[in-house]
């Protein structure tokens, strides 16, 4: 039977492999196309004869101090890092509490209701309320405001994922540390948090992608220009009257490639993180 199994396994199905290869190509076409256009001057993009020259002019124009592009990348980086740190800080405490500290029902019920309800609400419906809140906090149009808003939208999923990671760590470890006289705080910071590191890493990657890609809140909560995140900057390039396909492609390339590389390198963590969290919840 083992021989039969290995014979079955090693047989290569040409039609199947070809179909997968074609699907890979179709998946990659939009990504490759934007990458090619990013390195072409406008006239050869619009022109009919296609000659590829590795031209960096689009990037140079975008990096021009008169443009907001570099500023917007910087904004997006701060928003991403801020959101990841804040989400992990709040999420690890709450996830740990839900998993190991057995909080009373009156405290967990609102948490579970909020965590399961917020993800189904279309963000656009919360816009007026969030707008008022940020105005009252004097954070409208600020990067800090966007960090807070992004954190809110990522917290429910992050907490459920972190909880499921802590669930996998045996309770005995915590009990043993307590018997040895460690305080609750020490047990959390020196024993359990380090053990949950791989899980927290997966959550961090997921949240980073979500925050870097966020568009709607950046669009409505900032006035655009130098205050806006990168996604909003790209959108304004698209809506420009003077359509510059080269710059559009270059800006999209800059926004997409780091994330794709991150995914390619960390795909295992992302996959395990996403599926573990979501299948459980």
């Amino acid at each position: 039977m083992t021989m039969e199994k290995s014979a079955q396994k090693s047989k290569i199905n040409i039609t199947l492999e070809l179909a997968i290869f074609i699907t890979i190509v179709i998946t990659l076409i939009p990504i490759i196309w934007i990458a090619i256009l990013a390195f072409l001057p406008n006239k050869s993009i619009i022109g009919s004869n296609f000659d590829f020259s590795f031209w960096l002019g689009n990037f140079r124009t975008l990096a021009d101090p008169g443009q907001n592009f570099v500023r917007q990348i910087f904004n997006s980086l701060i928003i991403t890092f801020g959101t990841v740190i804040l989400t992990l800080a709040i999420g690890s405490g709450s996830g740990y509490s839900l998993s190991k500290l057995k909080p009373p029902k009156w405290a967990t019920t609102p948490v579970f209701i909020l965590a399961s309800f917020l993800p189904i609400v279309p963000p656009i419906t919360l816009v007026p309320g969030i707008y008022v809140t940020l105005t009252n906090l004097n954070l409208l149009g600020s990067v800090t405001g966007l960090v807070l808003v992004n954190t809110v939208f990522n917290l429910p999923f992050a907490i459920l994922m972190i909880k499921s990671y802590f669930d996998q760590i045996p309770d005995e470890l915590r009990e043993a540390a307590l018997v040895d006289g460690a305080s609750e705080r020490r047990v959390f910071f020196s024993v359990l948090l380090p053990l949950a590191k791989p899980g927290l890493g997966a959550v961090a990657i997921y949240v980073a992608i979500m925050a870097w890609n966020e568009f709607l809140m950046g669009l409505i909560m900032t006035t655009g220009g130098g205050a806006a995140p990168l996604t909003v900057g790209i959108a304004s390039l698209v809506q420009d009257y003077e359509i510059t396909f080269g710059q559009m492609s270059a800006s999209g390339f800059v926004a997409a490639i780091p994330i794709i590389i991150l995914t390619a390198v960390a795909s295992r963590q992302i996959v395990s993180g996403l599926t573990a969290g979501a299948v459980k919840s």
């Binding site: 090693s10 997968i20 909080p103 963000p123 656009i124 007026p128 309320g129 996604t231 396909f245």
Partner: protein, 305 residues
């Protein structure tokens, strides 16, 4: 229980209530955060939906008007149109991504050559920012320099203006959504496939089942709960869809791709009719809540069986 006794011995009789207090304190930041940025906005949404709000010289003037905002919905052709568009869009996208993702996962799972490459690459579209996804597809569908028309020209065919006809724009939007979100389905189904015990399949093969029978009789039934979860997830995602269409078609032409989120944004931001936009929003939130509620109770019923 054992835990409480242990810490009771080492840290005095307050430790049980101490742990309880810690557990609540650890949850507080989350609750406060969501109260400010989710519960309050929802409360604001409910409040606005029962009011007539006018903006005069940058000042807001509100007056209670009962259910007037809700009564407006059935008489608003734009709202009805965008509900229809959203329904059709959601149905098509959910079905197409489910089928494509499931077939893709099964293909990759039995692949020998491209397995690790495909497993990685098939996830990429999902991590690209929706805004960038619409830029990518604008560069493909553009009438003058788009890739599709360049290929058509090379083949001696007439170039098409994809995004300017109602059907063309709607199909384009569905294609973009399928390209963007099939990876999510793929991820879950692939994980599900890997969780299937190989011995069950081996037993089926020994009993003489063909690969097709194995898929239909064993693999799909095992995957069914996973597929159901993703179907709900994808339904929510499609109803919430906004970013891609906002740039790609702006809801046009003639409302053909005016998804409900785009319509609500327009009433909030351009028409500035806060009351009506809130009422419409509230209906959508209620519908989504209903879908998830039904799905959740079905799942519970299935589990207890």
């Amino acid at each position: 229980m054992k835990n409480a006794a242990v810490s009771g011995r080492t840290r005095g009789s307050f430790s049980l209530s101490g742990r309880r207090a810690t557990s609540v304190v650890a949850l507080l930041p989350f609750v406060i955060f969501l109260a400010i940025f989710a519960v309050y906005p929802l409360y604001e949404l409910v409040r606005l939906s029962f009011q007539e709000t006018e903006v005069l010289d940058g000042e807001f003037f509100s007056a209670f008007n009962g259910l007037d905002n809700f009564k407006k919905i059935p008489d608003d052709p734009l709202a009805i149109n965008s509900i229809k568009v959203t329904l059709l869009f959601t149905t098509l996208c959910v079905i197409l991504t489910l089928v494509a993702g499931t077939v893709g996962a099964m293909m990759v799972n039995s692949s020998r050559i491209f397995k690790s490459a495909a497993r990685n690459i098939f996830v990429w579209p999902a991590v690209v920012a929706p805004v960038v996804v619409s830029v990518m597809w604008l560069l493909i569908l553009d009438p003058t320099m788009g890739l599709v028309n360049k290929i058509l020209e090379t083949l001696g065919q007439e170039p098409q203006i994809w995004l300017n006809s109602k059907t063309g724009a709607f199909i384009s939007v569905v294609v973009v959504d399928v390209w963007h979100w099939t990876p999510v389905v793929f991820l879950f189904i692939y994980a599900g496939l890997n969780g299937i015990n190989q011995e069950i399949l081996e037993a089926g093969r020994v009993d003489g089942a063909t690969e097709g029978q194995l898929i239909r009789r064993i693999i799909l039934p095992i995957l069914l709960p996973t597929i159901a979860v993703i179907a709900v997830l994808r339904t929510i995602m499609s109803i919430k869809a906004f970013d891609e269409m906002y740039l790609l078609t702006k809801g046009g032409p003639d409302g053909a791709t005016s998804l409900i989120s785009l319509q609500i944004r327009e009433i909030f931001v351009d028409v500035l009719d806060f009351g009506y936009a809130s009422a419409l929003s509230l209906c959508i939130v209620a519908i989504l809540g209903l879908i998830v509620g039904i799905a959740y109770s079905l799942r519970r019923k299935n589990r207890s069986r």
